[in-house]
Symmetry: C2
Subunit: 415 residues, 2 copies
């Protein structure tokens, strides 16, 4: 017998039929003798309608009232799902966030979970009742309703699993798991059976939008075993049909052969900025990125080469495409101080990344990437590496070609 938290996303509870489908999965897990708690999202579309109403009445809405309105979406789902389960003979009840409570900080519409008191809930679970909890929301220190921001339901589920010391957190969604790359681009993409938190984080932030980054961080910090799986398949979570996101140790301990590279990620939402002929002196990088941080612009890949002439250098980095104009404007304003020559920008770039914890202990992973891209005649504009990731920036039109070539080169193609 295991204790499992099941989370159903918006499309998995999108209408009454989908809610009934979720209930069948819950009932089957209970029938196997598992202790089950459930976290649900709003019915797909519901949150958008609520947000639309808010935007129709206020240009800069008070986030406290925004939260009051949008938190109703999940409250509808918890009540309906509890009713369906009861109808199916499964003892169940809803727990809205202030009843548990799920305590958060006071950052309305983007709150962080501080604490979940599961004392009472664990007691009812031991007595055979299935608690149904709304994702995405909590209770502020002032006793008001908070929401965690988009995608927050994953975080709610992982946090509840941590608080309940659950054996696993099954995230039911509309995809069968995490893939070696986007199956829409590479037909031979394979579902990954097991992936480490670190790899998942790189994949999530690289654009594989299966799990929200915050939920993966939380799972890593609390060693919560997370499974991503499809609610549209027949298979049950306990049979592990999806992708398990776990500690590297668990993968090693099971003697599973871990491929060096787990997946190929790509992102098309960044723009490249190059600041040329920056005086090569201490503090100049801080001087460039200070104004951008002050403007809340997220800077990603940063590359600074050694100075060739001993007096000036070029600094290249990426920013979200939506922030490019703003970033360039901020840099131009600082030109007099920074004494650089020029700001160049390019929207026509993509970032392609090779990800795998295995590369820590294997040499030649980067070389294979560069050789593969060279063989296809693809020019690498910028390179940036971490312990478990190598990212390159290339011209957008080569994205699919590069992803497919790398997927094959690292032996990721399905047999």
């Amino acid at each position: 017998m295991a204790r499992i938290v099941l989370k159903f996303g918006g499309t998995s509870v999108g209408d009454i039929d989908r809610i009934k489908n979720a209930a069948r999965k819950i009932k089957a897990e209970v029938a196997r003798g598992h202790q089950v708690a459930v976290v649900v999202s709003a019915m797909s579309g519901a949150t958008n309608q609520l947000v639309k109403w808010v935007s129709e009445v206020a240009t800069l809405p008070d986030p406290r009232e925004y939260d009051v309105v949008v938190a109703t979406g999940e409250q509808v789902t918890v009540g309906l799902l509890a009713l369906v389960l009861q109808q199916e003979g499964v003892p169940a009840r809803s727990w809205v966030s202030w009843q548990i409570p799920i305590r958060t900080d006071g950052a309305h519409s983007k709150a962080r979970i501080v604490d979940i008191d599961t004392t009472e809930m664990a007691r009812t679970m031991a007595a055979g009742e299935v608690p149904i909890v709304p994702g995405f929301q909590g209770l502020s220190p002032e006793g008001r309703i908070t929401t965690l921001g988009r995608g927050g339901s994953d975080t709610s589920a992982v946090a509840l699993a941590a608080a309940l010391k659950a054996d696993r957190c099954d995230i039911y969604t509309d995809v069968a798991g995490v893939y070696t790359t986007d199956p829409r681009i590479v037909e031979a993409a394979r579902k990954i059976d097991r992936v480490t938190y670190e790899e998942m984080l790189e994949m999530a932030s690289q654009g594989s939008k299966v799990l929200q980054t915050r939920s993966v961080e939380l799972a890593m910090n609390h060693h919560v075993r997370v499974q991503v799986l499809s609610s549209f398949d027949d298979a049950l979570g306990s049979d592990l049909p999806g992708t398990l996101v776990v500690d590297e140790e668990e993968i090693m301990a099971q003697g599973l052969e871990k491929s060096v590279v787990s997946g190929i990620a790509f992102a098309k939402d960044e723009a490249k900025v190059t600041v040329t002929h920056v005086p090569d002196r201490p503090g100049v990088a801080a001087a460039i990125f200070g104004p951008l941080a002050a403007a809340n612009i997220n800077v990603d890949m940063i590359v600074q080469n050694v100075s060739l002439d001993g007096s000036s250098t070029d600094i290249t980095f990426t920013v979200p495409k939506a922030d490019l104009a703003h970033a360039v404007q901020r840099l131009e304003q600082a030109k007099a101080d920074l004494k650089f020559a020029e700001v160049k920008s390019d929207l026509n770039v993509s970032k392609v990344s090779v990800i795998g914890v295995g590369m820590r202990s294997h040499s030649g992973v980067a070389l294979k990437m560069f050789e593969t891209l060279a063989a296809k005649g693809i020019n690498i504009q910028v390179i940036s590496t971490s312990e478990i990731k190598i990212s390159v920036l290339l011209a957008s039109e080569y994205t699919e070609l590069a992803v497919r070539a790398l997927h094959t080169a690292y032996d990721l193609d399905a047999a």
Copy 2:
């Protein structure tokens, strides 16, 4: 400066434009220097959608989960209205029922308000903030969400007005007030400026569905001055454009000439049942109505004539049309015990009532009713009277004719 509770019903907050309209009225009352608290219903249609979902998932829904689902309707409105007011420069915040709290008993889906703690709310009102409260709901002794049943938002508003010791409770709805009778039947029907609680209760239970009966009882018990008025008119509540429901003393004290009869009500949703040749002995009435009460059938007009032959009598009463078949079945089952001759029933009846506190001190009111109906050739089947009401049962097809004739006879027609 007065303290006023404003309540906006479903059609008065039916869409974003209607919510903005409600906000304008609130803002205007605040501008006049009044302390204002607001109670709102769900946007019209919202509750029906939520109830429909519940009915799609459960035949006999757990009322606790039913309440979790349907209570979201008002929560959406409080958030949106608070946002609109803030946008208009009026300090406002939503208070959901568990935050105040509005304590109810544990009778889910038909709970009764036990207590409203307005300490904190009164403090914020004194500081110039407008509290926006969801009608129709509260917090059970077990800490779960309750709803008060259909029409409960009026009750919430009156209860809040009582707790806040408000000077008035303005119920904004889609009619301009309480009329001397249904204007769809009598073109000359007039809006009543002032009506007593007792009269309003008789009108509400007689089928003038302007205010929910429970809210009028509550207002009477706590001497809350209630005004019914239209949110679709330009006039503001403080100018008293609607119908004031108040103590008889207030009407007398103002030296207002009170007409003997305030209004003519009618109901078409009752059926007549006659039990013939019932043995005329003590306890027989109890024996007849016991089985009906046990079956939760609401019995209204009851008439028992004196026994003519000294040994048996006929008993006539009305029940809701929807319960008629059930009532007849119960009586037939008891026939062996009761030893009556026959149960006769008639769906083709209407109840027409003349209502007015003035009739307590005026003779001839009933006589005028009987003469008026006789002059039109309308046969009276059953008569039942109270201190402030005379009701008769007549064949349905005479309803409109009777109402119009009585409206004229009691000088209620508009000049």
